[in-house]
Point group: D2
C-alpha cells in the first residue's frame, strides 16, 4: 500500500487536496446491512467544519457530503462506499507567492523535495488539515457500525489548550458539553477560559497547542492482534496521521515513568459477578488487547504552524535567508477541530479490529 490507505478489514482509502476539487474517502469492507444516511455523515462533518466560530479559521466551506456508491435504499450493500465533499471557498492566490519561501512548521519544503516539485502545494495540498474531513466521513460510518453492533461510544474533548487543562469533570459532563462550546472542552467554565486564551493569543499573531483526550466505552475484551497490530499500536499509528499530532499516550501514559509497579498495576477485583480492576492505569489495553475497561488515551497537538508573526525562512530561488509572515486563513489552535477527528480515527481502528476479532460479521442481518 502507499500511505493513503489504512485498515485490514474495514479499509479506509482517502484522496483529495486542500485546494483541489474535493476531499473524500472510500471504505472497503464495511459489512452489508448497516443503515446509514448522508445526514448522519453530515452531522459529524459539521462538527469539524471550518469557519464556524471565532476560534477557528475563517475559510467558509459547506462541506456537503455526497455518497456515490456502496449505499442503496438506505443501507450499506457490502460494496465500496465512496463519499466526498467538494472544495468551494478556495483562495490559492497567496500560495504561489510563498512557494519559494517554505513556511516553518509546515511540510512545504519536505514535500517539495519528496515529490520533485510536482506536489499541489496550495493550502498545504495533501498535507493540509483539510484532509481530515476524509477521516470524519469514514469515521461516521465506523461510529454507526460500532454503536449499532456493539453499543460502543466514543467521546473525545479538548483536555488542554494553551496550558489550560480541564480537571474534575465526569465522562457524562464531557459527553454533554463538548459539542456545546466552541473549544470542545468538557466543562463550560474551562471552555470560556480556553476561548479567552485563544483569542488573546491570536491577537498576538501567535498560536496554541493542546491535548485531546479520548474515551471509548463498551469495547469488548480482546480487540487487538499481537504483536504488531496491537490495539494501542493501531490507535497510535492513525493518531499520528492527524496533522500537528506529535505524541500519544495510553492510560497513565508518560506519568507511568515516575510510578512504581505497586501504584500503576491495575489490580483485579470482583464487582458482583464481573471481574474488573480497581484502577484503569492501563487505559483499557493490556498486552495490546482491549481488556473491557474504557479505552482512554491522549494525543498532543503542537501549536498551529501558521502564525501571523514574522519568522525566518529561506528563499529557495535566491538561496538566502528571509523573513516571512504566513498569509492565508488559519486556525489559532487545531485542538477544537481535532476533537471530532480523533473520535473518527478511533472509530476506524475499533471497527477494523472488531471485524478482525470476529465481533462484527460481514452481513449485519438478512433482508431477503
Amino acid at each position: 500500500m502507499s500511505g493513503n490507505i489504512i485498515g485490514e478489514r474495514f479499509v479506509t482509502v482517502t484522496f483529495g487536496e486542500s485546494h483541489g476539487s474535493c476531499v473524500g474517502a472510500v471504505i472497503d469492507g464495511c459489512p452489508a446491512g448497516l443503515q446509514i444516511s448522508e445526514a448522519e455523515i453530515q452531522h459529524d462533518l459539521d462538527l469539524r467544519k471550518p469557519g464556524q466560530s471565532i476560534v477557528t479559521t475563517q475559510r467558509k466551506e459547506e462541506d456537503r457530503v455526497e455518497i456515490l456508491s456502496g449505499v442503496w435504499r438506505g443501507f450499506t450493500t457490502g460494496a465500496p462506499i465512496m463519499m466526498y465533499i467538494r472544495n468551494m471557498d478556495k483562495d490559492s492566490r497567496s500560495y504561489d507567492l510563498i512557494m519559494n519561501t517554505p513556511r516553518p512548521g509546515h511540510a512545504d519544503l519536505v514535500s517539495r523535495i519528496k515529490y520533485g516539485g510536482f506536489n499541489d502545494y496550495r493550502g498545504g495540498g495533501r498535507f493540509s488539515g483539510r484532509i481530515t474531513a476524509s477521516f470524519v466521513m469514514a469515521g461516521a460510518v465506523a461510529k454507526k457500525l460500532l454503536k449499532y453492533t456493539l453499543g460502543i461510544e466514543i467521546i473525545a474533548y479538548s483536555l488542554e489548550i494553551g496550558g489550560i487543562r480541564a480537571e474534575n469533570f465526569t465522562l457524562d459532563e464531557a459527553r454533554n458539553n463538548r459539542y456545546n462550546n466552541e473549544t470542545r472542552a468538557p466543562l463550560p467554565s474551562v471552555a470560556e477560559e480556553m476561548k479567552k486564551k485563544i483569542i488573546e493569543t491570536r491577537g498576538k499573531g501567535d498560536s496554541l497547542g493542546g491535548i485531546v483526550e479520548c474515551h471509548a466505552i463498551n469495547v469488548p475484551i480482546g480487540l487487538g492482534e499481537p504483536v504488531f497490530d496491537s490495539l494501542d499500536s493501531d490507535l497510535a499509528k492513525i493518531a499520528l496521521a492527524i496533522p500537528a499530532a506529535k505524541g500519544v499516550e495510553f492510560g497513565s501514559g508518560f506519568e507511568a515513568a515516575r510510578l512504581r509497579g505497586t501504584q500503576n498495576n491495575d489490580q483485579y477485583i470482583l464487582d458482583g459477578e464481573n471481574i474488573t480492576t480497581k484502577t484503569n492505569n492501563s487505559g483499557g489495553i493490556l498486552g495490546g488487547l482491549s481488556n473491557g475497561r474504557p479505552i482512554v488515551y491522549r494525543i498532543v497537538f503542537k501549536p498551529a504552524s501558521s502564525i501571523a508573526s514574522k519568522q525566518s525562512t529561506v528563499d529557495l530561488e535566491k538561496k538566502k535567508q528571509v523573513d516571512i509572515i504566513v498569509p492565508g486563513r488559519h486556525d489559532p489552535t487545531v485542538v477544537p477541530r481535532a476533537v471530532p477527528v480523533v473520535e473518527s480515527t478511533t472509530a476506524l481502528v475499533l471497527a477494523d479490529h472488531a471485524i478482525r476479532a470476529g465481533f462484527i460479521p460481514p452481513v449485519l442481518k438478512v433482508k431477503v
Copy 2:
C-alpha cells in the same frame, strides 16, 4: 495480515513464545548483496540478553542466533532470511500454579479470553517481553542495511528511570556510554543513580518505569508516506508493540501542548549552502516526512508488572477475590533492556521506508 507481521517492503515476521521452543523472525524483502553475519546479529542480541546484571531478570539464556535461510556465503541473497534463538532456561512450573489467578498488569486474563484458553500462557507466552528478541534479530539486519547504504546511525538510551532523568549530555556521550553501563544511561553518573534506585526498589518488591529516547541521524529527507504511513505513524505503531510501552512523543512532544507557535516552529536558516532549522522541535519529522534533521523521539515504559508485592486478583475457578505474589524471575524495570529493542524497531521502520522511498535499491551491488 494477522498481527505478527510488519512492514511493506522490508517485512518482518515474528514467531515464538517465552517458554516454547524458540523465538525468531523472518525478513522478507531485504535487498540482495548485504554482507551480514550471525556474529553481527549476536552482538545486538547480547545487548538485550537477560541475566546479564543485577538490574535485569536472572533468567539465563544464551540467545545464540542461527540464520537458517536467505544468507549465503556471507551475503543476503534476496530470499527470506529466517533466524532464531532456542529457549533454554525455561522454568514453567510456577505458571500452572497461577493460570487461574491472572497477574495484574499482564495480559494473562485478556489473552485467555481472546484465545479461548488455548494460548501458551507460560511466561506470558506470546505476550512476553522475550519476543522482542525477534525485533532485535531483524533490527540488526536493518541497522546494517541503513548504515551501509545511507550511513544512518541509531542511538537510544535510558533517558529516565524511576524519576531519575539524564540531563546535560551530548549525543556523543550517549553513543559512547549507553552500552557501557547496566542501565543504558547516557552518562555514567546517571547510570549509578539509576542503578541504586533500581536495586532499592527491587528490594522493596516493587518496580520502576521510565523513558527511552532515540535519535536517528543521517536520515535523508523524504522518508514517510502521507497520510497514514507517515514516518511518525509507523515509528509509533511499532513502539507500542514493545511490551510495557504506553506512549510515544516526537520532538517537543507533550511539551508542545504548552508552547506557542512562535516557540515551537522550527525556523529555517542557512548553514553555509545548506538549509537547516534553528531548533528541532519537530523531532526531524514534518508532515509525516523526515526533514533531514535528526529524528528524536521518546517512548515511555510502565513499571514492570511482575512484582514481589502482594496484589489483589480474582481466582477464575472459584470466582473469588484473592491475593497473589507473582512468582518467576523478572526485570525490576524493562527500560535498560528496551534500549536495544527501540534501536531495532526504529531501524525496521527506517529500512522499510528507505526502500519505499527509493533510497535503497533491491540489489545493493552486482557480483557477477
Copy 3:
C-alpha cells in the same frame, strides 16, 4: 484489504456499481511527475465504451471521465488520483422483476446470499462488467507510466470468438488492426468472420465465448517477486477478476501438457551480443520473473451469460422451478470489449512490479 483494492506499490482501488451513481478508481502510489490528461484516459475508456457497434450492448453511456485529485497542472503530484465516470443511461426497471429469479451464469443468487439481500442487484451491481471501466481508467495511467519510463507496449486482441481463431498474423498487424474493427481481431478478414458469427448467434438468442491474447513488449528482465507474487501469479489474479474470465495460460500454456521438455524448453542463443531464446514457450516468464522476451498470455472468456433464450431458474419466493428469459441490453460476447480491459489490467500489474523491482522511481523527474 477487502477485495476492491489491488497492487502493492501502484495500488488501484475501485468503486461503483452498474446502475448506481458512478464507477471509478483511486490510484495510490503513482509516481509524481507523470504527464497525464483526462483526454488520454478518455481515449482508452472509449475503446471499451458500450453501445458502439452492433456486436456490443446497446446501452449508451458517454463514460466521460473526470479526474478529481492527484493531478495538477497536467502532472501527477504523488497524491492519490481519483477518477470516475457517471452512470447515465440506466434502465433498472427490469431488475426488480427478476430479483427473485436469479439469472443462470450470473452472480445474482450468490451475491444475494453473501450480502443478505442488501447488495445493489440492478444490472448485476458490483458484479457487472461495467466495473471494468475502473480498470481501464487506472490502466490508462499505468500504460502511460510504463510507456514513458520503460517504453513498454501492451497489445491485446481477440484471438478467438465462437470458434473462429485468428492465425498467421504478426504483432504489427495486431497492433494496427485491433482497434480498427469492431471485434478487436488482429486481422480484418478474421474480424469479418467473427462479426458475422456474432450477429448470427445473437439472432438465435444465444452468445459466444472466446479468447483474448495479450503481449507486453520491452519488459525489462526481473519483474516479479518469488514466490507468491510471481509475475504470472499477479497477471492471473487480475485476469480472473475480469467478469466472465474462466482461465489463463502463459506461453505454450495448456499445450505444454502434451509437449516434451526438449520441445518446450526455450534454449538460449546469442543474438549478436544479446542472450535470447530460440523459442518463447515460457511466454516471457521464467520462475515467475520476466525474462526479457515478450510476455504472452491468453485469457478465456465464457459466453455472455445474458441470453434471450428460455432458461430454467428457481423462483426464490415461491420455491419452484420456472423458466426465464433474461431482459436488459447485453453483449452477445464480452470478448471485444474485454480487449482494452486486458491491456489495462496487464498495465496495472506491470506498473506495480516495475516500481517494486526498482525500475520506476517515486518521482519521475525534478521540476523545481
Copy 4:
C-alpha cells in the same frame, strides 16, 4: 509484502532454499483451538517427498517436520505456527560447474540478473520445486481446519500426463486411488499407462508435462471477495506460484471459448428443497464467489525443465553459445508430486477466504 507471503487472514510465510539449511513456513492467523500434530503434517509431506518411486527424482530426503511455535499441548494457540524441515541429502557439486551456463527452462539466468548474482543458485535455490514443501506444511494445517470446521474436502489428481488423459472416473475413484499409485492418477489403469510413458520418456533423456485437476467439496456459498480477491483470482494466483505451472482454468475453462451461452450457462433447478444447477460449467464459482457446487479447476504443468538431453545455452563468462547436459537428480515429470501441492495451495486459499467471509471464527472453541 515482498512475495514470500500470501493470504489476508490465514497468512502463510515461506522461507528456505533447495540446498540451504531448511525449508519452512510460518502461519499467522490460524484460529486457536485446532487440534494438530506433527504426524498429520508429516502425512501430507510424505505424499510429495522425493525419492519415493521410479517416477520421481532420486534425491532422498526424510523431510521430517518440526513444529517450533504456535502449537501447544496438541492445539493451535492463536500465535504464529513455525514449521520446517531440514535439507539433508544435498549434492551441490554440480551447480558450481553450471553457474555460468544457465539451464534452459529454469530461472537460473533471470534470478542471477535480478539478484545481482547473490542468489543461492544451488539446486535452483529459492526457485526450486523443493520450496513447495512449505506449501504442503502450511496446507496440512489449512486442510485440517477446513475439514474440522466446515467438512470441506479437497481432492486433486493427475488428470493428464504426457498426453495420457484419465477419463470416465468418479470422484470416489479419484479419492480412493490417487495416493495408491505412483503417478497420482484417479484410476489404476491410467496410472499404469502414465508410468510406462514416464519411464520411456526418461529413458530418452526427456520429460513430460501434464494437468492436475482439483475438486473442493462442501465449500459453503459466498467464499471470495469481489472484485480483485475473487475466489478464482486467489486460486489462480497461488496455482501459478507452483514452479512449472503455466495455466489454470475453472469449470469448462478454455473449452468455454467454443461453447454458446445456452450450453455453458448452469441452469438452476430444485433438488428437493435445495437449489442446485443442472451442470457445473462454472466450476463452482460465479462472480468470483463459491456457489455451493464443487469447485473444479485444472492447472497445467510444463514438462520438467531438467533433461538429460543436449541443449543450447550461453556461457556467460566467455559470451559464447555452448551445449549443455543438465546434471543433478530430477523428476521426469512434476505432475505426480504436484498433486499434494495443489491440494495444499487450494486449502490455503479456502481457509483464508473462509475466515474472511466469517465462516471460521478466531477461536474454534473455548477450553477454559
